[in-house]
Structure formats: structure tokens, C-alpha cells
């Protein structure tokens, strides 16, 4: 131990430095592990591509291997094809989610607050929730005059349940003392909603939205196999029909990357609105 360790100021600085170094090391470690995971995925992909080229009957699909796919992806990026391809899909998911939020959050709050409504809705909602959103497809096509309308409906139907159930569960976990204290301070129902209920369940709602987004993104692609001529699902179908497998692979990759990015955004929003201390 050196003399410096005995002066309080130096000790503090050293501790702060150590803490920062620890934090940096932790981040580097997490990043390293993430990269390793992606690397393993890439290696499996390359191995699959190699297997395909080894078998005679499958050689036509060799374009799905990382090399040709990434090359085509780079090509598509340079020609600015990614955005025109993704924008219609993002728009449909955005509308579908917006409708699901507009319906799911208020309904979730009502169900969380009102006992008899919860009992009334429980069975029908559980039943509806278990119906695969894609099985609504024929009905949606009949009910909506535009393809876009039908797709947005399918996404909304798929996305509403996680949002509704997460909201209701959050409302039920609200500390009743918060509501009592607020009423005691003269809060009207609208005050309870704005100052207590919504902030208290913000992260529950966002967690529901994150789940819903995952489902919506999955439902999107098959839904876009419907009549539309734009979007990522259409692009997949189109690439398949024209036997352009490198393009197919590149589109699949784009779907994955955008989905991952959206999920990360949701996660950041959850962190931002979380008032729970992890360290307590």
C-alpha cells in the first residue's frame, strides 16, 4: 500500500476510477459476447450455405449463403432500395400498433380498475386471444375494401392483446395507497389518470407494446403476401417468384435487422420510463 492510499481525496478518485473502469470492462464484455453470438449465427448460416452447395438437388439455392446474400444486400443499399421496400411495411405496422394501443390501453385500464368488467371480459378475451391472427385473413379481406386496410386490421388484432393484458396487469399492481393519498389530496378522476395511473403503469404499457411489436412484425410478412404490391412481405414473395434467392436472403436479413432495431428502441423507452430502482 502506498502513502497516497491514506489521503482521503486520492482514495476517492481511485475508487471512482476503478468503478468507471469496471463499468467499461463490463460493457466491453457484454459487447464482446453479443458479437460472439452474432458470429456463431453467421457461422451456422455459412455452414448451411455450404451444405446446400454440396447437395445436387439444392444447388439452385446456393445464393442464400452469406456471400451472395450480403453482396446483394450491399447492392440494394447502394441503389437505395431498402427504404422504399421497408417504408410501406413500417407504415402498416405503425397504424396497426397505433390502433392496438388506442384500443388496448383504455380497455386495459378499465379492466384493471373495474372488477365486474374484468370478470365479464375474461373468457371472451382469452378465447379471442388464442385465435391466430392469420386465421382472420379471409374475413379481413372480405370486410375491408383495401388490402392495406385488411393488413392493418390483422396487425391490430394481433397486437392488441399483449398491450391490453399488460396494461390491465399493471393497473392491478398499482398501490391502492397511492390512490387513497391522491383522493385525500383532492384528486379528481382525471387527476388520478394523469398523475397516478398512467405514470405508474407506463412501463407495463411499454412492455406490452414491445411484445405487441414483436408479434406485429411477425404477422406483417404473411399479411403482406395478400394482394399488396409493396412492403417486405411482398418483396419476399416477389424474390421467390423470380427465383432471385440472393435477394430473398437479403430481404430476410433486412426484416431481421429492422425488427431488432425496433425492439431495441422499445427497450430503451422502457428503461427511460421505468421508475423502479433495480438496486433496491
Amino acid at each position: 500500500m502506498t502513502d497516497a492510499a491514506y489521503t482521503p481525496d486520492d482514495t476517492v478518485v481511485t475508487e471512482a476510477d476503478t468503478a468507471r473502469a469496471d463499468a467499461l470492462r463490463g460493457m466491453a464484455r457484454n459487447l464482446g459476447i453479443s458479437m460472439l453470438g452474432l458470429g456463431i449465427l453467421g457461422a451456422l448460416w455459412a455452414f448451411g450455405g455450404w451444405l446446400i452447395t454440396q447437395s445436387d438437388g439444392m444447388r439452385a439455392f446456393g445464393q442464400l449463403a452469406p456471400g451472395p446474400t450480403l453482396e446483394r444486400l450491399w447492392d440494394m443499399i447502394q441503389r437505395g432500395e431498402i427504404w422504399p421496400m421497408s417504408a410501406p411495411s413500417l407504415e402498416r405496422v405503425g397504424w396497426g400498433l397505433a390502433i392496438a394501443i388506442a384500443a388496448g390501453v383504455p380497455m386495459g385500464i378499465l379492466i384493471g380498475r373495474i372488477g365486474w368488467l374484468r370478470d365479464l371480459c375474461n373468457a371472451p378475451f382469452q378465447l379471442l386471444r388464442m385465435i391466430s391472427p392469420l386465421s382472420w385473413m379471409p374475413i379481413a379481406v372480405m370486410a375491408f375494401s383495401t388490402w392495406d386496410g385488411a393488413i392493418i386490421f390483422l396487425i391490430a388484432v394481433a397486437a392488441v392483446w399483449p398491450i391490453l393484458f399488460a396494461t390491465a396487469a399493471g393497473v392491478r399492481r398499482i398501490d391502492p395507497a397511492w390512490l387513497k393519498v391522491s383522493r385525500n389530496l383532492g384528486a379528481k378522476p382525471v387527476h388520478l389518470l394523469v398523475y397516478v395511473i398512467l405514470p405508474a403503469i407506463a412501463q407495463d404499457i411499454l412492455t406490452g407494446i414491445r411484445l405487441a411489436l414483436g408479434i406485429a412484425w411477425v404477422v406483417l410478412v404473411p399479411a403482406e403476401y395478400l394482394g399488396v404490391s409493396s412492403g417486405l412481405g411482398y418483396a419476399i414473395n416477389d424474390a421467390r417468384d423470380s427465383l432471385d434467392y440472393a435477394r430473398l436472403g437479403a430481404t430476410v436479413l433486412v426484416i431481421g435487422v429492422i425488427g431488432y432495431a425496433l425492439d431495441t428502441l422499445c427497450m430503451l423507452a422502457i428503461k427511460r420510463f421505468s421508475w423502479l430502482r433495480s438496486d433496491t
Partner: protein, 281 residues
């Protein structure tokens, strides 16, 4: 004003290491004198739904303005129920509560309950929590001036922008006190507000709350099952007995001018109250 705030900040920062922050005696100028409420309870009876017997039976009390009244009784004798009825959070089956002559019909910013748990909102800062009552009462214009004065009064000026989760239990209860006083109520209803705190913090808060109540001229009804707490804080004690909840003793308290825990006058008064409690409750 600026000078005031600086003084308070410096003072609190110096004391922040101690568990308890002394209240700077500078609040009179910042807070206009409120006159306490006159509380009249007339033949109050209450029975919870599904229960066979009355939980409270024919209770009549008059609390003059500015009095600190302690309700003492064993667990389950109906103290909290009585406080809820006074505050209008619950409606009585029979009888009524009148504050300054008006029948209590519901909650009001003019009478505020402080509960055992502070129940602060963890998504808000100390200052935002203290401002809640003013927000609900649509008196947001008063927030910039009132809230710093309140935090100074409870000795938490230095913590205004901190998240309430960073505070100790005693500090949180101080924020709850500031929140209760924000709308300048003239009646403060306390339901064992210090019982979850350690002895040291509890003593400091008992004295501070009494001092603040006296400075502001508030009427206070304090529910407790701690005889010493009643003797420290109250001008008058009512002892309640259970089954059905009723008042068996009504006595004025005179624990000496200083209300000092170690003074013979205080000890004698505490012993008298304890004896009354043992023989009647």
C-alpha cells in the same frame, strides 16, 4: 427570498449526514397563518359491511380550533376508521362530522390525512410530490413559491430535485408532511404516521410536527397507540376502548412547558396517561 433559500440550503446540507434534519425556525414569514378548524363529531356510529357489530358506537367529540388531540387505543378499536370518517374518505352509517360548521361530505384540501406509510410517487421528485395537492386544487401558480417554503419548513430544501426513492424513511415522511401542508389545510389528521420509523427519527418528527402545527395554528387529530407519543405531541388525549369502539376517557395533558422527555413534569403526565389507559382501555 433568495437569501432565505440560501440559508436553508446551507443549513440542511450541513446536517444532511445526521439521520434527522432540524427544522429551521424560519417558516412564519413564508407561510401565512392559517386558523385551525373547529371539528364537531355528533353521534357517529359506523359498521363495516358484512359485520355483525358496530365498529364505532355513538361517538361525540368537539375539537376546538388549534388543538392537538390524540386518539389513543389498542389495535382494532376503530381509531383509523374514525379518522377516515372525519376526513370524508368514508361516510358514516349514523351521525355526522362537521368542520367549521359544515358537514363533511368527502375529501377536501382543507383537511388532509397523513398515513402510516408516506406513499410518495416514485416517478416524481421530492418537490413534485410536495406540489401534488396544489396541482389537484388547480393552484399551480402557487407552486414556485409554496413548495420551496414547505421543503424548507420540513428541512429538505437540499433534496428538492432528488427522486423520493433516494430518501430515508424519515425523510420520506417529511416529504409526506410537506405534501399534506401544501394546500394550507386547517386540519391535519395523522394516522400513526411515525410508527414505521426508528426511535430517533420518530422523536425528532414528533417534536417538529407539533411545532409546525402550533406555528401554523392547525387543528390536529393524531391517532396513536403510543402513550409517550400522545404525551409529547397532544394538548388533549381521548382513550378509546374496543367492541364497540367508543371513547372512555377524555383528559387534557399538561406535560410541563418544555415537553421534555426527561423532565419530572413530563414523566408524571405520561405515567398518569398510562395509568388511565391501563384502567379504562
Amino acid at each position: 427570498m433568495t437569501h432565505h433559500a440560501q440559508f436553508a440550503t446551507a443549513k440542511v446540507q450541513g446536517a444532511a449526514e445526521a439521520a434527522v434534519v432540524p427544522v429551521p425556525p424560519t417558516t412564519k414569514g413564508a407561510t401565512p397563518m392559517a386558523t385551525g378548524a373547529h371539528v364537531q363529531i355528533d353521534g357517529l356510529s359506523h359498521r363495516y359491511r358484512g359485520m355483525a357489530a358496530n365498529c364505532l358506537d355513538d361517538i361525540s367529540i368537539t375539537v376546538p380550533a388549534g388543538q392537538v388531540l390524540a386518539l389513543v387505543g389498542r389495535s382494532g378499536c376503530g381509531k383509523s376508521t374514525l379518522l377516515h370518517l372525519i376526513s370524508g374518505l368514508m361516510q358514516p352509517a349514523e351521525g355526522g362530522v362537521f368542520i367549521d360548521g359544515n358537514r363533511v361530505q368527502g375529501a377536501s384540501p382543507r383537511w388532509v390525512v397523513m398515513f402510516q406509510a408516506p406513499s410518495l410517487f416514485p416517478w416524481m421528485t421530492v418537490a413534485q410530490n410536495a406540489a401534488l395537492g396544489l396541482r389537484f386544487a388547480r393552484r399551480t401558480a402557487e407552486i414556485p413559491e409554496r413548495v420551496p417554503a414547505l421543503l424548507e419548513m420540513v428541512g429538505l430544501s437540499a433534496y428538492a430535485d432528488r427522486n423520493v426513492q433516494d430518501l430515508s424513511g424519515g425523510q420520506q415522511q417529511r416529504v409526506a408532511l410537506a405534501r399534506s401542508l401544501a394546500t394550507q389545510p386547517d386540519l391535519l389528521l395523522l394516522d400513526e404516521p411515525f410508527s414505521a420509523l426508528d426511535a430517533f427519527t420518530r422523536r425528532a418528527l414528533q417534536q417538529d410536527v407539533r411545532r409546525i402545527a402550533k406555528e401554523l395554528g392547525l387543528t390536529v387529530v393524531l391517532v396513536t397507540h403510543d402513550i409517550t407519543e400522545a404525551a409529547i405531541m397532544a394538548d388533549r388525549a381521548l382513550i378509546m376502548a374496543p367492541d364497540p369502539g367508543r371513547i372512555v376517557t377524555d383528559t387534557m395533558l399538561d406535560p410541563g412547558p418544555e415537553r421534555h422527555r426527561d423532565s419530572p413534569a413530563f414523566e408524571a403526565e405520561r405515567a398518569r396517561l398510562a395509568h388511565l389507559f391501563e384502567t379504562t382501555a
